[in-house]
């Protein structure tokens, strides 16, 4: 079979970037020109002459038993080539990232609204949709379980002053959605005095709604049956090899027969870590013997990927009169929805980092992930840390108020620093400039108040809807700081593979970097080029299309790719460099201690040696492939949560300034300021872009973004009703990037993408509280929370 007419990431020569730009430069993206020309092939752009369209029939019910499925009318529809159900899955019928518990196609029970039940392939997408609507599924509708604590049989909270210790053990009385019960994971952190007391105690309950990744490029891909009986899948995803593993299991095919290539990815933010259309398209392609394209529309996308876990949290903070934290107790509930996805790891993050970047001697945290009949939840940027940051930062503000202390001062007094111990007993062994991040924010000038002079409606809450000219508008300023682990934790064998080739092409030394690391928009392809340029001293670096013909790079998530795949590319380049230096030394006939690569040559500063790589290589090709690992982490103790769980932490802080129309409850974010330590900015422009984008997603969760669920059903699966920030909602941002090297990381770098997504929302919430004087314990904040109506 031929390959798609539009290859997913363009031919390699298209990925050659501009001829400068090593580590630390604002190098331009190698895929940028294709993207601005409209020629970059995203998953949904793939096309082949004889391809079919695949569509999914999904359950309308959050919880139901399937009595029967009748596909005959669908099959009889002209233009339809195949209709498949779970009976047609040749291999394992369930899959999952951490636990295989999710059916490829529904078995006898559906556990969430939108669960895939059947597939149709037809010659036109509308034909396929029409045929899917003709599949008759007989459901026995069951009562859904839609609350995490109910699912676990835990009492619901209703009184703020009950102790967190009252959370009982699992009663296991509620419906068992899965054979093992409804608990996915319970993580405990115990350190210090189990029954501490303090002068001042603040208790709060908090709630975070379900956020959607809302990447703009829909789930899409093209599966092409191969002559060897296998399949080639071009797909927009985050981790080719974990997809491959799950697809192989479902198709009962070996990895050699399931070859994946990354299609252009229109954003991911965690939402592409789980499978969506991957196995489905392969099943249809193998059944029909024709290429099958699947591309979700926006409504289906809301059902087609996992979301950010909604959380309910109860915190108790105890402090001395002068503002030193004595203890924190917390109970954190993540609603994992119908299937496990990455809930265990989300619970890991929520629990281990659940009290924020503060030093606290006595900590008692229980963090739970539960199965319910809500949509499955899994990875989203910030991964378990976004939810808890709303709670612990709100607590810090409440405590500051109780102590009559400045909130920034209270944070600084208790801030982590290098050498501090986390609640899990891990000593922070690289810079942790929490105080500096906050103090720098404080030192930034505040934006001028609009309304001093002529009122521009566009600066008002409500904007040109003309809801106010400044009457009832109050300004508030809020601060928040957060931290987040970088890369995979808790003993996971987290590695990446890089293949680096060096050869002379057209007289010019040319490096090719081949990894399977998914470029999702963040700019990893640029970073790969920059590292190769710096390490090999060449200008021309080609990024090979991302596929499974090289080893796993691990996931594009957990802010890890620049660290881990960057580390792998660096290490592979170093091995190529060793070969070049050895060749140069053979040429000059002796050892030269300071040989290095620069300007396309092996050079020495102490001696007058310049050996062009073109001469050194001739027709030879040097190639090195290696697996690279960051230093190992370890599993935490199941009873105390103690252990070296995380390899690195990223720190960021935000200050938000808001204007609130207190009569209508409308919020206008006036300015966001962010400080972040990135260790080393490999590409400063891209780093700032990550901070700006992450800030926007945090702001969105604070004031507008929520998947509304009623009785297990999604009420707003569209961009009409699920709002994400527009250019009108986003204020100007002030950003300061700090570079304190982490001695354990390549170039001293720190993962960047997630931290700013964590601290921005709590700062906005704090600012709204400051403006209104209301406690505001739930995000997103809605107008009625402010007006009390």
């Amino acid at each position: 079979m031929s390959t798609p007419t539009r290859t997913p990431t363009g031919a390699p020569e298209h990925l050659t970037g501009p001829g400068s730009g090593g580590v630390g430069d604002d190098a331009q993206r190698p895929d940028g020109v294709l993207k601005v020309r409209g020629e970059f092939a995203y998953g949904s752009d793939l096309w082949m002459e004889d391809m079919l369209w695949g569509v999914t029939l999904r359950s309308p019910h959050p919880y139901a038993r399937i009595r029967s499925v009748d596909t005959s009318a669908a099959l009889a529809t002209p233009g339809v080539s195949a209709v498949l159900t779970s009976d047609d899955v040749p291999g394992e019928k369930v899959y999952g990232l951490e636990l295989a518990d999710q059916p490829v196609l529904a078995l006898d029970v559906v556990r969430y609204q939108g669960e895939p039940v059947a597939l149709v392939a037809a010659d036109h997408p509308e034909t396929a949709r029409l045929a899917a609507a003709r599949i008759h599924v007989d459901y026995d509708v069951l009562e859904p379980v839609t609350d995490a604590r109910t699912a676990l049989g835990h009492p619901t909270w209703n009184q703020v002053h009950d102790s967190t210790a009252e959370v009982t053990e699992l009663s296991r009385e509620s419906a068992h959605l899965h054979p093992e019960g409804n608990l996915v994971r319970h993580l405990k952190v115990r350190t210090g005095d189990p029954a501490p007391t303090a002068d001042v105690v603040v208790v709060g309950e908090y709630e975070v709604g379900m956020q959607d990744q809302a990447f703009l490029g829909p789930e899409a891909g093209l599966a092409v049956p191969a002559e060897d009986g296998g399949v080639e899948l071009h797909v927009a995803t985050q981790w080719l090899h974990v997809d491959q593993k799950q697809i192989c299991s479902a198709l009962a095919l070996p990895p050699e027969q399931v070859r994946l290539t990354l299609a252009g990815v229109g954003g991911a933010f965690g939402g592409r870590e789980d499978l969506s259309m991957h196995v489905h398209a392969c099943l249809l392609a193998l059944r029909t013997g024709r290429p099958v394209k699947m591309s979700y529309n926006r409504e289906e996308s809301f059902f087609g990927h996992v979301h950010r876990h909604p959380a309910t949290m109860r915190y108790e903070h105890g402090a001395t009169r002068d503002g030193e934290l004595v203890y924190v107790k917390a109970a954190i509930y993540f609603d994992g929805g119908a299937y496990a996805s990455s809930t265990p790891a989300v619970v890991g993050n929520g629990g281990t980092m659940g009290i924020g970047p503060y030093v606290v001697p006595n900590v008692h945290v229980d963090c739970y992930g539960a199965y319910t009949n809500n949509p499955p939840c899994g990875a989203m940027r910030g991964f378990g840390s976004v939810q808890t940051a709303f709670a612990y930062e709100s607590q810090m503000d409440a405590l500051a108020a109780e102590l009559d202390m400045d909130p920034v001062e209270l944070r600084c007094r208790n801030a982590m620093e290098e050498g501090s111990a986390t609640p899990t007993g891990q000593v922070i062994d690289s810079p942790a400039p929490v105080v500096e991040l906050l103090r720098r924010l404080e030192a930034m000038p505040l934006p001028a108040r609009s309304g001093d002079g002529e009122v521009d409606l566009r600066d008002m809450p409500g904007g040109v809807s003309n809801t106010t000219h400044g009457e009832g508008v109050r300004r508030g300023v809020g601060y928040a700081v957060a931290y987040k682990n970088v890369a995979f934790s808790e003993g996971y064998d987290d590695h990446s593979t890089a293949r680096v080739r060096l050869e002379v092409v057209g007289g010019e030394p040319t490096a090719t970097v081949h990894t399977a690391a998914a470029e999702v928009g963040q700019g990893l392809v640029t970073v790969e080029q920059q590292i190769a340029r710096t390490e090999l001293g060449v200008e021309r670096v080609v990024v090979h299309p991302k596929d499974t013909s090289v080893g796993s790079a691990g996931s594009t998530s957990a802010s890890r790719q620049t660290y881990v795949t960057g580390g792998a590319v660096k290490a592979a380049c170093e091995k190529v460099r060793e070969q070049l230096v050895a060749r140069a030394e053979r040429l000059v006939g002796r050892t030269v201690p300071d040989l290095r690569l620069a300007g396309g040559a092996v050079v020495s500063d102490s001696e007058d040696i310049t050996v062009p790589l073109a001469d050194l290589l001739g027709d030879d090709v040097l190639e090195e492939t290696l697996e690279w690992r960051h230093r190992p982490t370890e599993a935490i103790d199941p009873e105390t949560g103690q252990g070296f769980a995380h390899v690195q932490y990223a720190f960021s802080a935000h200050r938000a300034v808001v204007d609130v129309d207190t009569e209508l409850g409308l919020v206008k974010v006036v300015e966001m300021a962010c400080t972040q330590d990135v260790g080393k900015a490999i590409n400063p422009q891209a780093v700032v872009g990550q901070i700006q984008g992450g800030t926007a997603q945090g702001l969105g969760l604070a004031v507008m973004e929520e998947i509304l669920i009623q009785d297990g059903k999604v009420r707003n699966p569209s961009f009409t009703d699920y709002l994400i920030p527009t250019i009108l909602d986003m204020p100007p941002m002030r950003i300061e990037v700090l570079e304190y090297a982490d001695p354990h990381a390549p170039y001293g770098l720190r993962g960047v993408g997630e931290a700013p997504n964590i601290s921005s929302g709590p700062a906005v919430l704090a600012a709204i509280r400051a403006a209104t004087g209301l406690p505001l314990t739930r995000v997103p904040v809605r107008p009625e929370h402010i007006t009390g109506t």
């Binding site: 020309r37 020629e39 949904s44 954003g267 994400i724 527009t726 250019i727």
Partner: protein, 162 residues
Amino acid sequence: MRLTCTVNGTEQHVDDVWEGESLLYVLRERMGLPGSKNACEQGECGSCTVYLDGLPVCACLVAAGQAEGRQIGTVEGLAGPEALHPVQQAFLDAGAVQCGFCTPGLLVATHDLIARHGRPSDAETREALAGNLCRCTGYEKILDAVRLAADRMAEPAAGGDR
């Protein structure tokens, strides 16, 4: 049905178009022009923005039949075969392209904005681009790109001063 229209200056004929198809579908799936994007197909995101007789519209909301006999301009028509249009170059230089899925729509919308306003104020830019969602950038670098493009496009006439 048969559809005839002019896309980026070239007359196009397409047969067997089903009445329910949108202009976006016809461009992407029948004319081999997938540059206009399909982020929502609900008229809410602007990723499918194209010119229809010189006015920017969401191609996902235009029924294919409505394009009969009309002039359509897409992102693929902005640049010449060699050089990028200054708006495209400015998006690259400003770092306004991450995943790039919003980019084609934003390029057409920005092209139109600068054609109408020359050097738009930030407030004008925000109003004009309010219908174009971007999930990656937080919009700061998109504003930078608009300013950069407007400045560069004004420069030959204005001599580079502001």
